[in-house]
C-alpha cells in the first residue's frame, strides 16, 4: 500500500481540515476550491489577497488560508483598487455575489472596470440574496419568487434581470469578460482555467478580468440540490448564457 | 497694528491677483503676519469676485472683516454693496474710470481716485489695472514698502521676464497717484 501515489490533493488555498459553512449543494465551496487551485497553478498562492464582499461569500473567511479583508457591501471594487495600487505585486481578487456587485456596488463595479484596474473580479450569480434570506436581486429571473417579491419578479414593477457581463462589455478597458458555471466536471475545469488565465494576466500587469459564475442557491430557491441544478440549467443559463465576451490574446 | 483690506470687483479685473500679490509679497519680504481669503460667487466666470487681505504684526484672527480699514472697489456694484463695511475714517479706493466718486454716499471716509482701467489702456497693458491699483494702495497707505511689491512682481513673472518691466512701471504709476492723494 505504501506504493500508492497521491493523484489529488486539497488545495493549500483552503485551510487544512476546514469545513465550509456553505449550505449543502451550494456551489460557493466549488468556486473557492477553484480559486485556490488556480492560484497554486500560477505559483502565486502567497501573493493572494481576497477582497471579500458581503453576503454568503463572507463565510469564506473561515475557510481560506490566505490574506483577506472585508469590503463593505458593494465596495470590493474600490477596496481592491486601493490594495492593488498600493501593493502591485499582490494578486488581488474580489469575491462578490449578485446583490453586492450588481445592486449596492454597481458604481464601484463599473468604475473599477472602466479604469481597467489590474484586478480579478469573481462574480457569483445565483439570482438571489442568500445570506439575508432570499430577497430579490438585480439578477432574479422574471417570475422567480423572492421574499421581497412574494408573487415573483414582475417586469412592470421590478424591471428585468440585469446582465452584468453584457454591461461591462460596453467598456473599453476590461481585458477579459467571461460567464461560466460549475455544474459539470467539464465546466468546473473550464472555470478553473478561466480563473488561472485571469490570475496570470493580472500577474503580467495586463489588466481587469471579470469572471461571472452562474450558480444555484438551493436553500433560498426552495429546491433540492439536484432540482436546483436542473432549474439553473433550464432557466438561469437561458437568461445568462455562458460564453466568452472578451478574452486576452 | 492690524490692517484690514477688501478688494472687490468683477471677474477678470485681477482682483484676486492683486490681493495675492500684496499678501504673498508681504509674506516673502517682511516678518508680518498676513492672510489672504478669496470669496467667489458660485459662477465660474464673470460674476463678482472679492478678497480680503489682513496684515498685522500680531496674530491674525478672522481673515474676513466687515469693519474695513481699506476698501478697493473696481466697479460700481462693489461700491454700493460694500461701502457700509468701511470704518469711519477708512480709505476708499475707486476705479474712477467706471466708478463715479459722486456716488460715494459717505463723507466720513477718505476717497482716493484712480482711473486705473483707462490708465491700463493708455499704457497698452489693459490687464495691468490691478497692478496700478495696488500701486495706488501702497502709495496712499504705506501698508508695506513699495520695494516689497516690486520684488513680488519680479517673483510672480519669473518665468515671463518680459512682463516684469511693464508691470513694475504700471505699479510705479499707481504709486505716484497714491502718494499724491495721501
Amino acid at each position: 500500500m505504501s506504493e500508492m501515489k497521491k493523484v489529488y490533493e486539497r488545495t493549500k488555498g483552503i485551510k487544512p481540515g476546514a469545513v465550509s459553512g456553505f449550505c449543502p449543494g451550494c456551489m460557493h465551496s466549488t468556486v473557492h476550491k477553484l480559486i485556490g487551485e488556480a492560484a497554486e497553478n500560477v505559483g502565486a498562492l502567497d501573493k493572494l489577497v481576497r477582497v471579500e464582499g458581503v453576503g454568503c461569500c463572507g463565510l469564506g473567511q473561515l475557510y481560506v488560508s490566505g490574506d483577506w479583508l472585508i469590503a463593505a457591501h458593494g465596495r470590493a471594487g474600490a477596496v481592491a483598487t486601493g490594495v492593488k495600487r498600493s501593493s502591485p505585486d499582490s494578486l488581488v481578487y474580489t469575491y462578490q455575489g449578485d446583490g453586492d456587485l450588481a445592486a449596492i456596488g454597481l458604481a464601484e463595479t463599473l468604475s473599477a472596470a472602466n479604469r481597467g484596474e489590474n484586478i480579478t473580479v469573481i462574480f457569483v450569480n445565483n439570482g438571489i440574496y442568500g445570506m439575508t434570506g432570499g430577497q430579490m436581486a438585480p439578477t432574479t429571473l422574471l417570475g422567480m419568487k423572492a421574499t421581497t417579491a412574494p408573487k415573483g419578479r414582475v417586469a412592470e414593477e421590478h424591471g428585468y434581470p440585469m446582465h452584468v457581463c453584457e454591461i461591462i462589455n460596453q467598456l473599453t478597458a476590461p481585458k477579459m469578460i467571461v460567464r461560466t458555471t460549475v455544474d459539470t466536471p467539464q465546466n468546473v475545469m473550464k472555470t478553473r482555467k478561466y480563473i488561472e488565465k485571469a490570475f496570470k494576466m493580472q500577474l503580467e500587469g495586463k489588466g481587469y478580468a471579470l469572471i461571472e459564475i452562474v450558480t444555484t442557491c438551493p436553500t433560498n430557491w426552495g429546491l433540492g440540490t439536484l432540482e436546483s441544478i436542473d432549474f439553473m440549467r433550464e432557466h438561469m443559463l437561458k437568461e445568462f448564457p455562458v460564453g466568452e465576451f472578451r478574452m486576452p490574446e | 497694528m492690524e490692517r484690514n483690506l477688501m478688494i472687490a470687483g468683477f471677474g477678470g479685473q485681477g482682483v484676486m491677483t492683486m490681493g495675492k500679490l500684496l499678501s504673498e509679497a508681504t509674506c516673502d519680504a517682511t516678518d508680518l503676519n498676513v492672510s489672504f481669503f478669496p470669496s467667489y460667487g458660485a459662477a465660474m466666470r464673470g460674476g463678482t469676485a472679492n478678497c480680503f487681505v489682513v496684515i498685522s504684526d500680531e496674530e491674525i484672527g478672522a481673515p474676513v472683516s466687515y469693519t474695513l480699514d481699506d476698501l478697493v472697489v473696481m466697479n460700481g456694484p462693489s461700491l454700493h454693496k460694500f461701502i457700509s463695511n468701511l470704518k469711519s475714517g477708512g480709505n476708499l479706493f475707486i476705479n474712477s474710470t467706471i466708478v463715479d466718486a459722486k456716488e460715494v454716499a459717505r463723507d466720513d471716509v477718505k476717497v482716493i481716485e484712480a482711473p486705473v482701467t483707462q490708465m491700463a489702456l493708455d499704457i497698452n497693458n489693459p490687464r495691468a489695472l490691478n497692478v496700478i491699483m495696488l500701486g495706488v494702495y501702497v502709495g496712499a497707505t504705506d501698508a508695506v514698502p513699495a520695494e516689497v511689491i516690486i520684488k513680488g512682481i519680479e517673483h510672480k513673472f519669473e518665468k515671463k521676464p518680459h512682463l516684469i518691466e511693464p508691470n513694475v512701471e504700471a505699479f510705479k504709476q499707481g504709486l505716484e497717484i497714491g502718494k499724491a492723494q495721501k
Binding site: V49, A78, V83, S86, S90, S111 | -
Partner: protein
C-alpha cells in the same frame, strides 16, 4: 528658521501629507476642498505615489481603507456632505484598526448646505463618524500652519494606534492663504521604514496559514473582544488631550472655541484685556479626546461665565462644555452657521452680552 512660504490651506495640507510620507490619496471633488485632490494629482507622481479620483466619496474612502491596509501611508479628504458618505468606510477602518488619515474641510449644512465655511460637523466628527461607537483622535487646527503640523503628525498618531485619525478643519482655512513653514520631507528610506513598521498586519499576500486578515474581530466572541481591546486603547488617549489656555490665570469670562472660531476669539480676548476686562480663552486642539478636565477644573468663584463660540446653529461643542462644567458656571452662545462667517465684531458683541449678564 526655515523659510516661510505663502500657501493656501488645502495645498499646505496636501504638501504636509506628502512630506509625512503619504503615498496614496483617493478623493472625490467637492467644494471647498478641491485643491487637496488637485494638489495630490500633481504631487503623487513626483514622489512615486498614487492618486486616484474615486467615482464617489463612498468609493474613495474604501480605496483609502484598502490602500492603508497594505501599510502604505494613505489619506483622503472631503467636505461635510461628502464626509457623511465616508461614514461607512471610516467605520470599517476603525473596525479593522487601519492607520489612515482623512480631512474634513467643513462647509455649511445640513444637507448640501452651502459651499461656504462652517463648523457644523462637530458631533459627527467627535461622537459618531460611523456605526458601531468607535472613537478617533480628531485634531482641530486654527491656522494654516497648524493644518500643516497636524496633518504631518496625524500619520504618526494613526500608525501608533492603528486607528483612523481625522483632521477637522473648515472652508476658511482650506481656502485662505497664510505663511507656513513646511516640515521636513521624509526620505524614501524613511517612507519604506514606515511601511515596514506595519508589515506585521499588512494585507498583501502571505504563505497559506501565515495569513493576515483585515478584521481583528470576527465571528463568535471576536467582536466583543476586539471592542474591549479597542476601548482600552482609547483610555490611553488621556495623554493626547491638547488644549490651548490663553490668558486663563485670572480670567473671569472665558471664550471657548476651536478652529477658526478660536482664532477670532483670541483677538477678542486681547481686545477685552486692553479694556481691563479679565477675559481668557480655552481652545480644544484635540476635540476628541476633548479637554473635559480643563473645563471641569474651572473655579466658579473666579470664572463667572463661558461664551461658547462656534460656527454652528444649534451649538454642538457646547454640550461637551456643559458635560464638564455641570451647570456650575453659566454658558452662553455666540453662533453663526450655514456658511455665514463669524467676524471679530460678532464675537465681541457676544462677549459683551455675556459680560453684561455675569459680571
Amino acid at each position: 528658521m526655515a523659510e516661510r512660504v505663502f500657501m493656501k490651506g488645502c495645498e499646505a495640507i496636501a504638501e504636509a501629507a506628502t512630506r509625512a510620507g503619504c503615498r496614496f490619496f483617493a478623493g472625490y471633488p467637492i467644494t471647498p476642498q478641491n485643491e487637496i485632490p488637485e494638489y495630490f494629482a500633481r504631487r503623487m507622481p513626483e514622489v512615486g505615489g498614487t492618486f486616484v479620483q474615486g467615482e464617489s466619496e463612498v468609493a474613495s474612502v474604501n480605496m483609502l481603507y484598502g490602500a492603508a491596509l497594505t501599510g502604505i501611508r494613505a489619506m483622503s479628504s472631503s467636505s461635510s456632505c461628502g464626509i457623511s458618505l465616508y461614514s461607512e468606510g471610516v467605520s470599517y477602518m476603525a473596525a479593522a484598526r487601519v492607520p489612515a488619515v482623512y480631512v474634513n474641510v467643513q462647509r455649511g449644512g445640513p444637507g448640501i448646505g452651502a459651499i461656504q465655511p462652517a463648523q457644523q460637523d462637530y458631533n459627527q466628527a467627535t461622537k459618531a463618524s460611523g456605526n458601531g461607537g468607535f472613537k478617533m483622535i480628531v485634531l482641530a487646527p486654527a491656522t494654516v500652519q497648524e493644518c500643516v503640523d497636524m496633518v504631518y503628525e496625524a500619520f504618526d498618531l494613526a500608525a501608533r494606534d492603528e486607528n483612523p485619525v481625522l483632521v477637522l478643519t473648515d472652508g476658511v482655512m482650506g481656502t485662505m492663504m497664510e505663511p507656513v513653514v513646511l516640515p521636513p520631507m521624509k526620505s524614501d528610506e524613511e517612507v519604506a521604514a514606515l511601511r515596514e513598521a506595519f508589515a506585521h498586519r499588512a494585507v498583501i499576500g502571505h504563505k497559506p496559514l501565515d495569513q493576515h486578515t483585515g478584521e481583528p474581530g470576527g465571528i463568535g466572541d471576536g467582536w466583543e473582544k476586539h471592542n474591549i481591546e479597542t476601548a482600552e486603547m482609547y483610555k490611553t488617549w488621556d495623554k493626547d488631550v491638547r488644549v490651548e489656555e490663553f490668558m486663563m490665570d485670572d480670567a473671569e469670562i472665558v471664550l471657548a472655541a476651536y478652529g477658526i472660531s478660536a482664532r477670532i476669539s483670541k483677538v477678542i480676548v486681547k481686545q477685552l484685556r486692553k479694556e481691563g476686562i479679565k477675559a481668557g480663552m480655552i481652545r480644544p486642539i484635540t476635540v476628541s479626546p476633548f479637554p473635559y478636565d480643563t473645563f471641569a477644573n474651572l473655579d466658579p468663584s473666579k470664572v463667572k461665565g463661558i461664551l461658547d463660540v462656534e460656527m454652528s446653529i444649534p451649538a454642538q461643542m457646547r454640550f461637551d462644555i456643559d458635560h464638564a462644567v455641570c451647570g456650575r458656571i453659566p454658558v452662553m452662545e455666540c453662533l453663526r452657521s450655514g456658511g455665514q462667517l463669524l467676524t471679530n465684531d460678532q464675537v465681541l458683541a457676544g462677549a459683551r452680552e455675556l459680560i453684561k449678564e455675569v459680571l
